[in-house]
């Protein structure tokens, strides 16, 4: 026989039947059921197959410690979740669950052959075999092992659900809402402390939910807590990890228990454009609109509100933490202990009294602890037939025996179950006296185990609180706290369930090396596996765990760790405390990736920074590239153009007339104060003190190790005010480094740094017609070559907007960089486009910018240098102030390897075939005919087609490159070796004639 619904009792709502499916079969349960209780009520005993041996398995527990009954739940496209415990899946109308790790069906599983061959798969078997023939490993053995392993299937489609996250703060966090947790909350209710009480179940109460006598108390208490304004209650919330300084991670499950997921209450933005593109495309946005035909389909709707999040991550900072997580009953280890129908006594009680479901009609109990007796008495009271109580102890409290007699229950003391009859369900058990004799059978249809209790010290251990061993309960209990935390109730080792014996494995007259007595049910670790590990020299419990995988299943050893420890202790003949304790690691129970990722999905994954002009570029078909956190327009293809064509056109436009470029992403730092020049003089390689206001200077910044960190053109606006620029990617690093020196090395300097990267947008106008275009728009600045020379800065207005106008050039052409307050940049850009139309003004992107600067031999830090390049390597000797006593990085430039010959130096490279554009990153050799591994003397850092020059150009870091001018080098590529000659890096207008016009 098998489980059935009791005629009365439980907290389920019998007036609300719920239909659901398991493995394609339709069943009915009640509101308030879990999948486990509902299936059990329908007589289903077989829930799943074990990991390794594919043994048929039923329910062992009633809560989150369940190791066997793992199911997959499918809620439609993208909403497939494997490995859920049936005991944690709340029943809802239409629930569709399936068993796992079986083929073709749960009842007939070909994988069960592993069970028959189990003797050949002891712990660590894979270390000992599959080595010959060698080639079989990759092709046969490993793929086969992989295929056999794993539990459920992984999802195959993108999850349409969203996840939320929040921080929260409280003075008292109570984890676990059983009687102990509720008592702690009641004590704090009505005080001025902010109290949060969280529990993983759908209903508060913990153990009290299976004790009808406590229900009135529970109801009263929960009402008091609900009425207390200082108490926050979170159900369906698992505190999964305890981190530094009372920081607790918890996940709240919001929708998995709902039959339908209805849109959240949030409303779309009223009217107008939003940054969400989907919203713009939806004609009904702006109101809630017509309800979507199916709630689940709404997930793909463009509504901003969309569906409520599936789960929410709570990041809770608590003043004090009270852990009231209770204790978990321990199974007993004997042959057949994994047969469906063998269950923890406490679980059977939960099923009967909380869910109104009996595990069987004739239930036996195998006890090593008093608590099982009490559970069985409760079952008897609920109308469940009790076949027998077997207790391995020779004597127990007489009151228990009296109570058993009063219930007319057969009692067998000093005896142990040594076998279970039945494969898919219990048909009977065989017992023997603990000394081995007197074997006999007892008919029953379920067997309960009462092996004692294990305090749930998981979070306590995460917090690095210490544990102490208690021989009397055979368990570790909390000792000294490391955080402001304490344990109350059963998780501290205090309970009133009575006493018990502490054992590893039940005694058996059978050959223990031949029987499968399970310790870790999910991972199929048996007592003999643990003994084998010990025999093979694995003595630390961590070794035993890793060798046997005991405690490494998805239940993380909640029911197996202590039994494993006891068995190892016996096998090693050492006290438990001498073989260590495996570390408890977060999470307490498995938590969804999505919940940990929170909102960080798609556009919210990481901020994508956009310049104020980005929208114009997007509207005009720009192709973007990602640079640091920014996106930048790479080129602006006209219809039919590829990148090459577009870039050629953009380059030619700059050289022949005028191009316009968005340089807003460059970092900017305003350096202000009487000691500004002194400060910059110490930071940069070149001298700054003599720079006159109104003039600009190229600045080179090293790290203290002497390697190039960043560069940029900076301007002196006033004696005590500089406007620095940095690379796009270097802005934050440079500012942080400068603050570091300023605050900690030179705190006496009167100078302050302010990031102005986003204060100013920067529009570069480059080309021979730049001045002509600009002149009519600018007021207060004389743009003439005499009044405003190259490398100068002027302040005035442009189109009525204040501007800091730089006359600088990263292209080699006459050029200006117009700094204006960000909000006006897009309008100004449009104005310049209009004004420049007669000149054929051409927007260009970063790719053309790269080509143009390479034609002039300007380096890009991060591309032509890479963190191992000194100014001398880069040919930037001119930018190093030889007379300066010190600057950041100067001392490092004198280190032996930095002054040694043969360093890689930056040079130009001209391919012998002008049509060959070398690949960036290609390696350079002196002798192309050497065998591999070749001696590489450098690599190509930048390489482009120069439309202006009608040939390819490249820059390269080459060992001793500065002394190799004119030499031919080789670039071996797959299929062909290119040749190129070392050249100067300035390929275009070396005299700079085009600049000074």
């Amino acid at each position: 026989m098998s489980g059935y619904r009791l005629p009365s009792g439980g907290r389920i709502d019998r007036s609300r039947p719920v239909s659901f499916q398991f493995d394609g079969n339709a069943y009915q349960g009640f509101a308030g059921d879990t999948l486990a209780s509902a299936l059990l009520a329908n007589g289903v005993m077989l829930f799943g197959r074990s990991f390794k041996y594919h043994r048929p398995r039923g329910l062992m527990a009633a809560g989150s410690e369940e190791p066997n009954a793992l199911v997959s739940v499918d809620r439609g496209p993208g909403r497939f979740t494997p490995n859920l415990r049936a005991t944690n899946v709340e029943l809802y109308e239409g629930l569709n669950a399936a068993s796992q790790n079986r083929w073709p069906s749960l009842k007939t599983d070909f994988g069960a052959i592993n069970d028959r061959l189990g003797m050949f798969f002891p712990a660590g078997f894979y270390n000992k075999t599959f080595m010959w023939p060698r080639s079989f490993w990759d092709r046969l053995y490993e793929p086969s092992i992989r295929k056999m392993a794993g539990l459920g299937d992984a999802p195959t489609e993108e999850d349409p659900d969203t996840y939320a996250a929040t921080y929260a703060h409280c003075d008292l966090l109570i984890i676990g809402a059983g009687p102990a947790g509720i008592d702690a909350a009641l004590m704090a209710a009505g005080t001025d402390r902010r109290v949060t009480l969280i529990d993983e179940q759908d209903e508060m109460g913990g153990g009290a939910l299976a004790d009808p006598a406590l229900w009135p108390w529970l109801e009263r208490s929960m009402k008091m807590l609900a009425d207390a304004p200082n108490v926050t209650i979170l159900t369906r919330t698992t505190a999964f990890g305890y981190y530094h300084d009372n920081f607790i991670g918890a996940v709240q499950r919001l929708t998995d228990h709902l039959p339908e997921i209805l849109p959240a209450t949030g409303r779309c933005p009223e009217g107008a454009e939003g940054p969400v593109e989907a919203a713009q495309n939806n004609p009904t946005q702006g109101s809630l609109g017509p309800p979507p035909p199916s709630a689940l389909r709404a997930a793909t709707s463009p509504f901003r509100g969309g569906l409520p999040p599936r789960e929410k991550l709570w990041r809770i900072r608590a003043g004090e933490v009270v852990l009231a997580q209770g204790a978990i009953e321990r199974p007993l280890v004997f042959e057949g202990n994994d047969t469906p129908g063998v269950m923890l006594a406490s679980a059977a009680k939960v099923f009967a009294l909380r869910y109104g479901v009996a595990i069987g009609q004739s239930v036996a109990l195998m006890a090593a602890h008093d608590s099982g007796w009490h559970d069985v008495f409760a079952l008897a009271k609920a109308g469940v037939g009790i076949a027998a109580i077997i207790d391995m102890r020779g004597t127990v409290d007489q009151a228990l025996i009296d109570a058993a007699l009063a219930h007319n229950i057969r009692v067998e003391l000093g005896a142990a179950v040594i076998g279970v009859d039945g494969r898919h369900a219990v048909k009977g058990i065989e017992i023997a006296s603990t000394t081995g004799g007197n074997r006999r059978c007892i008919a029953c249809d379920a067997l309960l185990m009462a092996g004692g209790w294990t305090p749930s010290v998981h979070l306590w251990s995460h917090s690095k609180g210490t544990l102490k061993w208690r021989d009397d309960i055979g368990a570790y209990v909390p000792d000294q706290p490391n955080e402001n935390a304490r344990c109350v109730g059963a998780c501290s080792g205090d309970w009133d369930f009575g006493q018990g014996a502490v054992i590893g494995m039940l005694p058996t007259p059978k050959d223990a090396s031949r029987i499968k007595a399970f310790v870790d049910f999910q991972n199929d670790v048996t007592a003999k596996d643990i003994k084998l590990a010990v025999r093979e020299g694995f003595r630390s419990i961590e070794h035993i765990k890793r060798y046997t995988t005991n405690g490494m299943a998805t239940d993380q050893g909640k029911t197996s760790n202590l039994n494993g420890l006891q068995i190892a202790s016996t096998a090693l003949n050492k006290p438990v405390t001498d073989i260590g304790l495996t570390t408890f690691r977060p999470p307490y129970t498995p938590q969804t990736f999505g919940a940990l990722a929170g909102h960080a999905k798609g556009e919210l994954f990481q901020p994508l920074r956009k310049s104020p002009i980005d929208g114009w570029a997007q509207d005009h078909g720009a192709v973007f590239e990602l640079v640091a956190q920014w996106r930048r327009a790479r080129y602006f293809p006209k219809p039919g153009e590829d990148m090459h064509t577009a870039v050629n056109r953009e380059c030619v436009a700059v050289r022949s007339s005028v191009g316009i470029f968005d340089a807003s992403t460059l970092g900017k730092i305003e350096v202000v104060g009487p000691d500004a020049a002194e400060f910059l003089n110490r930071m940069y390689t070149n001298p700054w003190k003599a720079l006159e206001p109104g003039r600009c200077r190229y600045g080179l910044l090293l790290k203290e190790d002497g390697f190039i960190m960043d560069d940029g053109v900076s301007a002196r606006l006033a004696p005590d005010r500089f406007h620095l620029t940095t690379t796009t990617g270097g802005a934050a690093r440079v500012l942080n480094m400068m603050e570091d020196y300023l605050q900690t090395e030179w705190p006496n300097l009167n100078v302050w740094l302010t990031s102005t990267t986003e204060q100013y947008a920067v529009i570069a106008l480059q080309g021979p017609n730049a001045r002509k275009l600009l002149e009519p728009l600018v007021a207060g600045i004389d743009l003439s070559a005499e009044a405003f020379p190259h490398m100068a800065i002027r302040e005035g207005t442009i189109c009525g907007i204040p501007t800091r106008l730089f006359r600088v050039s990263f292209t080699g052409e006459l050029g200006f960089e117009i700094n204006v307050p960000s909000a006006y940049a897009r309008a100004l850009w449009k104005r310049l486009m209009t004004a420049g139309a007669p000149h054929g003004i051409t927007p260009y992107g970063t790719e053309a910018m790269h080509v143009l600067r390479a034609e002039k031999g300007f380096i890009i830090v991060g591309q032509d240098t890479d963190g191992t390049v000194t100014p001398y390597d880069a040919g930037l000797d001119w930018a190093v102030g030889k007379k300066k006593a010190d600057f950041v990085g100067k001392r490092s430039l004198a280190r032996p390897d930095i002054v040694a010959a043969g360093r890689k130096q930056l040079v130009g490279l001209l391919t012998d075939d002008p049509n060959v554009v070398l690949e960036e990153g290609a390696q350079i050799v002196a002798d192309p005919n050497q065998p591999i591994p070749m001696t590489m003397i450098g690599h190509v850092t930048s390489s482009y087609w120069s439309e202006t020059l009608g040939r390819s150009i490249a820059m390269a870091l080459v060992a001793g490159g500065h002394s190799k001018m004119g030499e031919t080098l080789h670039i071996p590529m797959p299929g062909r070796t290119h040749t190129a000659k070392v050249s100067d890096m300035v390929f275009y207008d070396p005299e700079g004639a085009r600049l000074n016009v």
């Binding site: 981190y243 990041r315 942080n736 603050e739 570091d740 010190d886 004198a894 032996p896």
Partner: protein, 90 residues
């Protein structure tokens, strides 16, 4: 996420507001050219890495912006003290 007492803001703030800046009290020489290669190596690279009491720098980068010093036990991660830059080693 550890809580760090910022000696400038005078309150405990969450770690993500801070940037660790390595060992504290590693002083840059006034004139680095007087350092030989070994001394310079020590300044650049050699770091105390104790199991236990450790002097380190933090910057309250997403707060008041200040660098400051701290004494923290690297085994327990607990702070013994934080103090302003320029104050003597604790």
């Amino acid at each position: 996420m550890i809580l760090i007492h910022c000696p400038y803001c005078d309150e405990k703030r969450p770690e993500i507001e801070f940037a660790n800046a390595g060992q504290a009290h590693v002083v840059r020489p006034v004139d680095p050219s007087t350092y030989d290669d070994a001394q310079w190596e020590a300044f650049l690279f050699i770091r105390a890495n104790p199991r236990g009491r450790h002097h380190e720098r933090w910057r309250h980068i997403h707060g008041c912006g200040r660098f400051f010093n701290a004494v923290r036990d690297t085994v327990t991660d607990k702070f013994e003290a934080t103090y302003k830059a320029g104050k003597p080693r604790r």
